[in-house]
């Protein structure tokens, strides 16, 4: 069961690749989809590996992604970084 979840603001992404590279558990990959500016935003390929550490959010220069923890009871918890 994943300890965290990622949410992506597709329209802000510029496909720099930081989040994909620096996710410690390789949750993400750039998708083949396009946003309206023509960039390939990331998508989650290994959701069960997400720890909610929010390194993706800290690296993202475009404020287009962030991760938050899910508490054991299944309750979402805001990341405080």
């Amino acid at each position: 069961m994943a300890k965290g979840r990622v949410s992506i603001v597709v329209e802000r992404c510029k496909a720099c690749g930081f989040c994909v590279e620096f996710c410690p558990t390789k949750v993400l990959a750039l998708s083949s989809a396009f946003n309206s500016k023509g960039y390939h935003p990331p998508h989650v390929v290994n959701p069960e590996k997400c720890s909610g550490c929010d390194l993706c959010g800290m690296y993202c220069p475009d404020f287009a992604i962030h991760g938050h923890k899910i508490a054991p009871a299944g309750k979402e918890v805001a990341s405080e970084g």
Partner: protein, 286 residues
């Protein structure tokens, strides 16, 4: 299932997103660290003012939801000085780029550090004048290709930590945009410090600096930072100069104490004037 909001969102003027910075530019990454430092320090946002100059990093002022001032090229520091002196209760951050702060703004950088004005300066150093198309900056490593040095620069790069330490800064640190958590921590530390604090953040400019020098894109640069950075807290700042492909010394270099400008001024007035001294009160103008 609702997504919880990115903790950085509260600090952004979301009505202005997406921003103008290039894919792979590191400025936005520094803003994340800044935002996390604000959260961790529990800074009262009402009393925080952010002042920037001109350039890509200067655009930070327009994207943060704070009292923010986008001033003239090189003059964020003197503007911030006036702001702080008129309202000492403000926490004043200067957020600007390497060209703005060390070239046209160099004199003001030196004097504010000398005076130890209580300012937190975040200098995003992408080694170039980015906004205007990639001209040589005082921080551009030598032999680099830029639009105004098409055959390679002939000047050594300024060692900014060394400069500001010599001028008198009480807190000097350097990180890269790879060091997101350490940067947030340094900014939070600077908020606790009274006096002139300077944090340099080395950042990619993939469109201009990296591209013209065939150094890859933003991601390549972040990997380079990861590989070539060495954390050396307390390193002598004379030894932290940068070259194009060499080591990047990062860490907290200077953390010392000396009274800030306003503290000295106050005690001097009290001593010289005694009862005749009148504290600066609330503004007399409205």
């Amino acid at each position: 299932m609702s997504d919880l909001v990115n903790p950085v969102e509260q600090f952004l003027r979301t009505d202005r997103m997406p921003h103008i910075w290039c894919p792979g530019c590191g400025i936005g990454t520094t803003v994340n660290s800044f935002a996390h430092a604000l959260i961790e320090s529990k800074i009262d946002l009402k009393s925080l003012a952010l002042v920037s100059g001109i350039g890509c990093t200067g655009r930070v002022a327009g994207y943060v939801k704070l009292d923010s001032f986008h001033t003239t090229h090189g003059r964020a520091i003197p503007f911030a000085t006036g702001l702080k002196l008129a309202n000492p209760k403000l926490q004043v951050v200067v957020y600007s780029g390497d060209g703005d702060l060390s070239a046209i703004g160099g004199n003001h950088l030196i004097h504010a550090a000398r005076r130890n004005i209580d300012l937190k300066v975040i200098c995003v150093n992408n080694l170039i004048y980015a906004m205007t198309g990639g001209q040589t900056a005082p921080t551009t490593p030598d032999h680099a290709i830029t639009s105004t040095s098409p055959y390679g620069t002939c000047e050594p790069a300024f060692n900014l930590p060394h400069l500001v330490e010599a001028a008198g800064a009480v807190y000097v640190a350097r990180w890269t945009t790879f060091h997101v958590r350490q940067l947030a921590r340094s900014i939070a530390e600077a908020f606790q410090k009274k006096g002139f604090s300077f944090i340099e953040v080395i950042s990619p400019c993939p469109t201009l600096y990296q591209r013209r020098n065939k150094l890859g894109d933003g991601l390549d640069t972040m990997k380079y930072y990861k590989e070539k950075s060495r954390v050396k807290h307390g390193a002598p700042t004379s030894e932290v100069g940068l070259t194009m492909t060499g080591e990047i010394i990062v860490g907290k270099f200077v953390d010392r104490d000396r009274p800030d400008y306003q503290t000295i001024a106050h005690s001097q007035f009290v001593e010289a004037l005694g009862e005749r001294f009148v504290e600066q009160t609330e503004t007399v103008c409205s």
